[in-house]
Symmetry: C2
Subunit: 382 residues, 2 copies
């Protein structure tokens, strides 16, 4: 597999009161098309990643909403898989290109979350979970708190190790002007922030975010490539698990991450040791620690120690979440998976400015839906 | 393109108070897997077509809900494009197979509409339309009534011609035990039924339906095919148009049907004259008349006369909507596109019983989202 990331476009992430979902999606899409140097008429399919706008604003059928706003009559699709919607859209766009059906595809992930009252957004997000979990009154912080407690009990993972994920990702975000929270925080700040669901505090949690991210993916057969370094997606895999946490064999691992990570690396012909930069799904701090383990960056249970060892901090061996991650860059759920692809692309193109990882030539993204019922892993290479 | 329809499964369509969306989706899925004679473990991806369950019951993230209920950890996706969700799922599943990523794919379209009160279902369905149309207080019968009025004015299409579509499709449904309304009606019954939005009456309109439809699609490289006639999808195309009716150049044609029809027939190497049986999107009676014109079965404006000429009735040259169509078989929106594929498959396999079209060797499906913002056309052949 060798799919070229021909262009990228990313809006500011944050509480963007003056912009609609369509405003955001079109801004990112037009920037990506412009970055690709392709005439807009050459786009022959549009894949939209979005989870919530139907429930929040009543609007479904986003494919043609965006496609026709760009003046196109081409094929269009909306893909939904909770917080993994964006990277599922990337995966399916890749299939359309590999099939030979489409040549140049726009993938745009977008979410407008700040318009809805908290009770509505909480209800809407719980659609990613099971009906049993909803009936039990569980919310996502509570579900991840159960996971965190199990991990702390089984592997002696500490509260401070969780907090360090947030501190690191805020440091990275402080170097990213697109981030929702571009400032540093201290471990003390995380530990003393409001308790949401023990052990998870406010600063262990990703925020409610508006934003959009778009990429142009192209078949690797263009005769005249634009100047500069080219970046390719060389692995793309999706795996599923039970949507209900109670039905899993283990609370302390995400089987779908293990499966998707293995397949994607096999496709690309790389091993975890080759990865120089990664974006993983840190919706809550425990999730990044588990991702390190389940992807094989470290052994099972060693994630806390691995993270605080600083090899995943900028300057370390394999910086993780250089964008600031979901925690500090923000988490507009349908956009997140596409934003991860953009961050790795910028790193591999040597365009990441102050947060550039030196010598980055192979990168990985991991995007999770719900508590791991969907996981998507991509490998990117120069 | 040559994708084998390896198995089909269809639930009864109707008001199924004692079954949940998951019950229906699993019943259809298991029947399709059984029909394919494949071990369930050989399914390597699941594509779910669904529009409404998030809004009606709060449940999104249907991919892994269904996949894990089948005991699988494979890739899973939910595809949404309003009433075209099912056939968009078929199209994307085909891309995954053509790409070589997946070998045997389950596509399941499902909808559970009868649980919601009318006001909620009307709101939910209007997500297929534009925010301007919603704000104007338009509903889908009203939007299609505008189309019907324009068509009647421009082409002298008559009220009786519209009614005939319903009469014909109810006749077909009377031969289909899976249909929601398996009985015949008269033209008088249609004309005298409650006026919904002039000229559309209750019996010009497809109903609220619960149901699920599933197909197994396979790469055409199996060494040992099961006994019996094989059916292949040889064309699959998607086109988009403005979601807002007011932004179209013409109210009396669906540009997306014209584009998708042309591409799908080119892919398959067939012309409209080769089609022996078709399932088209008769959400309202005017829609079937327009589909005849836009697909090229007859010239523009001649759809009313063409339909009443009885060539599309069972026994005619090319029977259309032998299942009973959306009108009389029922319209569980996410399932409809998949059900169309099943009806054509059964016809081509010579398994359609009392409604069998003799000598059917090439068939077509046309599935519409909204008022034509999304259109998907498939060609099937033996």
């Amino acid at each position: 597999m060798r799919i070229r990331v021909a262009g990228v476009g990313l809006t500011k992430f944050g509480e963007l009161w003056d912009k609609s979902l369509l405003d955001l999606a079109l801004e990112a899409s037009r920037d990506a098309i412009s970055d690709s140097q392709l005439a807009i008429s050459r786009i022959d399919a549009v894949f939209v990643g979005n989870m919530l706008i139907g429930k929040i604003a009543g609007q479904d059928h986003l494919g043609p909403v965006i496609t026709s706003s760009l003046g196109l009559n081409c094929a269009s699709f909306r893909i939904e898989g909770a917080c993994a919607s964006g990277s599922l859209a990337v995966h399916l766009a890749i299939q359309g290109i590999l099939a030979g059906t489409y040549q140049h595809v726009l993938v745009v992930g977008a979410e407008k979350m700040s318009d809805a009252p908290t009770s509505q957004i909480t209800w809407a997000l719980m659609g990613a979970s099971s009906s049993k979990e909803r009936k039990a009154g569980l919310t996502f912080p509570a579900l991840y708190a159960l996971i965190a407690q199990a991990h702390m009990q089984k592997y002696n993972t500490t509260r401070e190790e969780l907090a360090y994920v947030s501190v690191k990702n805020h440091y990275h975000a402080s170097l990213n002007s697109k981030a929702q929270y571009p400032f540093e925080i201290t471990e003390e700040k995380v530990l003393n922030s409001s308790l949401i669901s023990s052990p998870i505090t406010l600063f262990d949690s990703s925020p409610i975010t508006d934003g959009a991210a778009a990429v142009i993916l192209s078949a690797d057969d263009s005769r005249r490539l634009p100047a500069g370094r080219q970046v390719y997606i060389t692995g793309s895999a999706v795996a599923s698990d039970t949507i209900d946490l109670a039905e899993r064999e283990s609370l302390t691992e995400l089987k779908a991450t293990q499966i998707a990570g293995k397949i994607a690396m096999e496709q690309a012909g790389v091993s975890i040791k080759d990865i120089k930069v990664a974006e993983v799904h840190d919706c809550f701090t425990i999730a990044e620690i588990m991702a390190m383990e389940d992807l094989g960056f470290c052994s099972k249970g060693a994630g806390g120690k691995f993270i605080t060892g600083k090899s995943t901090r900028l300057g370390g061996k394999c910086p993780v979440n250089t964008s600031g991650g979901l925690k500090a860059c923000g988490h507009p759920v349908g956009a997140t998976g596409v934003k991860q692809i953009i961050e790795i692309t910028e790193q591999l193109k040597n365009r990441a400015g102050q947060r550039q990882v030196k010598g980055a030539n192979i990168g990985l993204t991991q995007n999770v839906g719900g508590t791991g019922a969907t996981v998507v892993v991509h490998i990117l290479q120069i």
